[in-house]
Symmetry: C2
Subunit: 485 residues, 2 copies
Amino acid sequence: MNKRLLNIAKQLKPELIHTYLNKDFSIELNNNQPFVIDFSSHYTGFLSLDLDFEGSPVDAPILLKIKFCEHKDELKENSEEYHGWISKSWIQEELIHLDTLPTLLKLKRRYAFRYVKIELIASSNKYKVILKGAHVDAVSSNSVKVNYVGNNSLEKNIDKVALLTLHECMQYEFEDGPKRDRRLWLGDLRLQALTNYYTYKNYDLVRRCLYLFAGVADKDGRVPACVFTSPKVVGDDTFMFDYSLLYVSTLNDYYKHTNDLKTVIDLLPTATRQIELAQNSFTNDIVNDSDVLGWCFLDWNLRLNKQCGAQGVYLLALKGLIELYEAIGKDTKQLIEDQKRKLEASKDFYDETLGIYVSGKDRQISLASNVWMILGNDFPKEKNQQIINNLKSLSPEEIVTPYMYHYYIEALIKSGLLEDARLTMNEYWGAMVNDGADTFYELFNPKNKDESPYGGKAVLSYCHAWSCTPSYLLRKYFIGDHKND
Amino acid sequence: MNKRLLNIAKQLKPELIHTYLNKDFSIELNNNQPFVIDFSSHYTGFLSLDLDFEGSPVDAPILLKIKFCEHKDELKENSEEYHGWISKSWIQEELIHLDTLPTLLKLKRRYAFRYVKIELIASSNKYKVILKGAHVDAVSSNSVKVNYVGNNSLEKNIDKVALLTLHECMQYEFEDGPKRDRRLWLGDLRLQALTNYYTYKNYDLVRRCLYLFAGVADKDGRVPACVFTSPKVVGDDTFMFDYSLLYVSTLNDYYKHTNDLKTVIDLLPTATRQIELAQNSFTNDIVNDSDVLGWCFLDWNLRLNKQCGAQGVYLLALKGLIELYEAIGKDTKQLIEDQKRKLEASKDFYDETLGIYVSGKDRQISLASNVWMILGNDFPKEKNQQIINNLKSLSPEEIVTPYMYHYYIEALIKSGLLEDARLTMNEYWGAMVNDGADTFYELFNPKNKDESPYGGKAVLSYCHAWSCTPSYLLRKYFIGDHKND
């Protein structure tokens, strides 16, 4: 823990901006007839319920079940039936006793929701329970409003939903999702920061997060995959090969959009250290399969072999570090030599017959491997296009997260396939919009809407930061002057 | 609502006295392995839990189930299986999410308990949840300590448990039970007040309660069966024939123990009004069966016919009113005439062949009917003894509450059967002591320990004011100088 760095992060901690929303009702709550409040959009914040009674005095406590749902699908989920491997405690559902009425029930926890399902579980039959109002105190550290962009209503809707997704995830840090994990993750941070540069432009929040990660690096200097900030700042003991490396890319992106050399100089040792530590995971400049230090994420496709993708992530991060070194006039000779060796070694992943990159000893064909090779290398556009074209007939392992979809689209753009990129974005994120999304999801497989890597959908996050990038892609690549960026 | 009377009640509202109890642990909470804290005695108050963790940072909320039990039997009850007619919201069980650890979880509601069962329902497997401490902030408006009395260890134990029962029920008012209903009921008040005069001697708390009832009398002047005091003072819309009448007896008892004529004069109109209103329930001076205004309680034996008992309660109340009138020199002529008529009419309940009183058109044989006839009349002791003796061979409807047992013992004493009374007390309340009672129960049928008038035991109160009278009986009748009172 580096106190100096964490102190800088602390000084950058934003104030939360509160937005209040009130709904008035005069609804009788009946046993086992849940009442659903639809707040018409996604909110992250605190709920109060104004409850009263009619009839005889309240001669027994009231027992309420209150469930918060980001997505209408969650309304149908029975929490009892969730037995997945991540904790059911993520389900936003409370059982609450009230001893007296009338009362203003102020729930203490923060929730992420559009819908609130209220069910009267128990009361006496001497009085009626009346819901008179619901009050939302919504919080975000973002207060900037941005006009929606897009060449058609679908794109504008995609932008609207993406912007709200980012807004909702901007709290004291960039959170991955306000329902779950409500925490700063590096992979999410990079995509949030990129989108933020083109929209809300809260540079200090990015800087705070970069300092947080640097401040909690372990004794070897390794940046963890996520940071806890409550009740105190502490780094996770989960380390992810790709996430640690993306710290370099995130710092490089930050520099490009701010020219903040002071921060770059302060954090460059942390960035450099991630590249150094990654060396332990290479043998003859090829990243080890399935024993890279920590876990290489890439995507929630659980069948995915990560070896080739990990090599690509390293190459992208290394490019970023070279750019940062160049920016401050630091000698890049060693880095460039390393880059040459790693690029050369990467050819081992190439299957000459298929004309694509494959991964692992079983030579797995996946989009992820090829996307990361395209992003990590700088092939001629024609080669990239060939790769992408060749993949089409090979039923590659598919992508299930908006996170990996983002990098896929970046690869398409890098390959000069701007229209393909745009169609892919509109198809993938557009399908969520058509699914009724107010915010974009943690996970969306258009071919299997019931997919969950957790063994159940009840814990899924339906407002997930890593899915906010259409607002970035639209502004950087698809709209107006930026089109040929 | 009489504001003047309620204002006097308000001025008499006591301060609560806090007693703190701390337990330190270092217990790992494991999923589905509940941990039970045994506080070794009954407490009414607030609980805080000191929770910490070991291992990785707390990467998912903690979901705890916390159940408060007055009696060890409640530990075994499954709340899901309770489907009785009074609300399951009385079960003292909470489901609570904690977002971070360490934390001091301060539960807001007041509970009544000896045992606290803590179950970790959900958490992630990256950390262990450690219970480090449990802190009780126990409350009562009583701070007086009283030495236990009794001629043997059983009696002393009975007294100890009875005293604690009363202590726990003394809050801002005399509550019927700190688990359920946590409320001032007239039937309970009379017995609490009597016991209080011989033990804690908190006359003001009795006075407060008498003013509360008088203050919430309905527009006809009828005193309800119970008073709600939170969030504001309001009378229940439940009226009980016997409870309303016992207001007179409670005021009369109060006068005898305080000589507080001022209060008697202030509240005599309320007392008088209960006798006047009861007239509507008589035909030819015999109380109507099953259509007495409101409900006549007597006991939780659901098979009990109340007609004869109701007549007895009226007679007792009327005697009390005559005594009060005499105390202030008010003319009793009308009351005495009414008493004569009602006593004469009561003979109709007598079965010459059986030598006992019977009740209702089916001429039901019950202890309750005969107890109330003995208490309402002033028969020679020999007649009372004959009645009691005759009942023995007749399998009368039995008594299931300590409330009715108290009046049974009073009847035995009035009949000169002091040893019978004492044996009955020791047998009945002693059986609860032997059952492990820290406080005496709402309901106890030695012949059927699973009896509940509510369709399930989970909601039963195991600290119930109306069962505290052994401390009164021992001191007034069974111990030392009071023996021949």
